[in-house]
């Protein structure tokens, strides 16, 4: 009886669909405005839920004369799980109702000094690292496109540009912070002092 159960369990296991192809990916950013001669960096975030896989990255296309670095070009993705207690300092991606730790691939793009103002595209491709054997192997492929707008005249000094900073910095928002409230509290004596000064002024004028 027990033997039969074991066989049944084994058969069930054999026919259970096992995830053998797939990984998740996202880009921290996909566009940047830079001056010719500048370089820009992007990050690709990767994870593979419940199974280990390896991805190979390569540049598919870029404008002539541009230089593109992919670091690293080969990425091993360990079998990731949802983290119930994420660790401080590690980077996570919100996936469904949980957080999964991500691996990062850095893409650095350098433009030549003589790049003409305009919009450019750099394409990166990630291919699952798998050998062709026993028929037709299915391989997962993913594209990552980066849109670069080169603007204005080349700068005198070669610099590395950060991506477009979307973080709002100029918004005027009136917030009474705790600190401000504290300051207000510390200035309690101002009104009575002003009243006294006014009274004194009136008094001396009459005199």
């Amino acid at each position: 009886m027990a033997h039969n159960l074991k066989i049944t369990f084994l058969i069930i296991l054999l026919f259970l669909p096992v995830s053998v192809l797939g990984f998740g990916s996202t880009q921290k950013d996909y566009k940047a405005d830079i001056y010719s001669g500048q370089s820009v960096e992007f990050e690709i975030l990767l994870y593979s839920l419940n199974k280990e896989t390896t991805m190979m990255f390569k540049t598919v296309s870029h404008p002539e004369g541009w230089r593109v670095w992919i670091i690293p070009e080969k990425v091993n993705l360990p079998a990731a799980t949802f983290n119930s207690e994420p660790e401080i300092g590690k980077e996570y991606l919100k996936v469904n109702e949980g957080y999964v730790e991500v691996k990062k691939v850095l893409v650095k793009i350098e433009t030549p000094w003589d790049t003409i103002t305009g919009d450019y595209l750099v394409r990166i491709e990630a291919v699952e690292n798998k050998q062709s054997s026993n028929g037709v192997s299915a391989v997962n492929v993913r594209d990552f496109n980066f849109f670069i707008r080169v603007k204005g005249l080349p700068l005198q000094e070669k610099t590395t540009s950060s991506k477009i900073n979307h973080t709002a910095v100029n918004k005027t928002v009136l917030i009474r912070t705790t600190h401000e409230k504290k300051k207000e509290f510390e200035r309690w004596w101002l009104p009575p002092l002003l009243i006294i000064i006014l009274l004194l002024l009136v008094l001396f004028r009459r005199a």
Binding site: T26, L45, L93, V102, G135, V139, R142, I164, H166, P192
Partner: protein
Amino acid sequence: MKKIILIFICMIFIFFLISKPKLNITSSIIFDPQSIWIPTIATHSVDGDVTSLINESDDSTSVVDNNEYIDITLWNETMNPSATDIVVIFYFEVDVTDTNFEWHVNITSPASLAGEACLIDPNGVPGNYSCNLTAAGVDTPDELNSLDVRLIGVENPDQGPPDNGEVDYVYLNITYILIPYLQVSLEEPPSITNIPQNQTFTVNATVYCQNGECGNVQGIVRYNSTGLNPDQAISTIPGAEPFYVLEQNPLSCPTNPLTDGEFCNLTWRVNATGQIGSDWKVGVLFSSDDPSVSDNHTSNSTVSITTCTIDIDAAWSRIDFGVLQPGQSIEAPGNQNHLYNITILDTTTCPSDIYLMGTDLQNGTSIIGVGNITWNSTQVSQKSLSKTYQLAGSSLDSGTNLTTFYWISVPTGIPWGKYNGTLYVKGVQSGTQP
């Protein structure tokens, strides 16, 4: 007359000074009038450990001769770090003492306060004597928690034997005030988090009421609108950028008012509507309606808004046509069981397109062109696979299964055998060219 008016005005000013608004410190403050600390490590300069002798108010005493001393380096209590208005009195009971015997109470730690705190001369009268250590500078929890005292016996002037005193019970009498405070922590999101644009994430924070009654406590989830740290409440208006909450903001603790030791956990669902590539600091500010309880902000998490996540999966790794015979046309073995599913996992956050591309099949130097493989997402018709990407499914929502089917027509004039090749499965955000 003018002088009288001037004096009157001065009196008004003094009245204002006296009636200066004070923080409303009422019942929520714990006032501990007497906390007694006793030594747990006390060492006589000659006799060694005398801890038990000086902790008992009986006949067990430690005898201190001229110029000998007792070092007290550990106490049985520690002071709450949030305590204020600390007053520390050092007491020691002397059972028998030489008429000329006097006692020096020295602070040996913390180093910043080291030196003589008191000189006490009982004039030969046994009894309980005290030294105000707060007058010598011990008035913070840190100073008190690192307090070491040296009690030195000195016969002044030295007239020879008998020249000693007997120390019995040594202790500290401490008074202090505990002001209640909010101990806060941010549970979610993790300290560095990426959220695909237009996705919802959870902000979860906990507040503990410590040291007394904290009143009615509320939390407000905020982000950095203008500076480096959160300074703006996240909007509750749907579509607001860079975030909006689906709940109320602020939220009140459901068990208000919070009592000493009570905690409350608040959760907001936040939609990340900001621009892709933007980074934000998110945290929660807790406050109480009791003005004596200070606001407290959690640590912040950095939230980066990213492109959509694409996660494509398959439960198969290859199509095994087996040993191929010249001229035969065969169906892939998994077609009948709908094996060749490509799944847009529910972790994908935007509609996706699936493209397929193949390579020629090889067996040594023999090649079967990729066009001999046909495929489709239905079993009704077939189209040739090619070396450029072909659309297999478009605008597929997360959770969708795309079932594919494959066939091969083996050309004549090639050797029989196993042929190997590759099928590329590419997932892109819907509308993007592969």
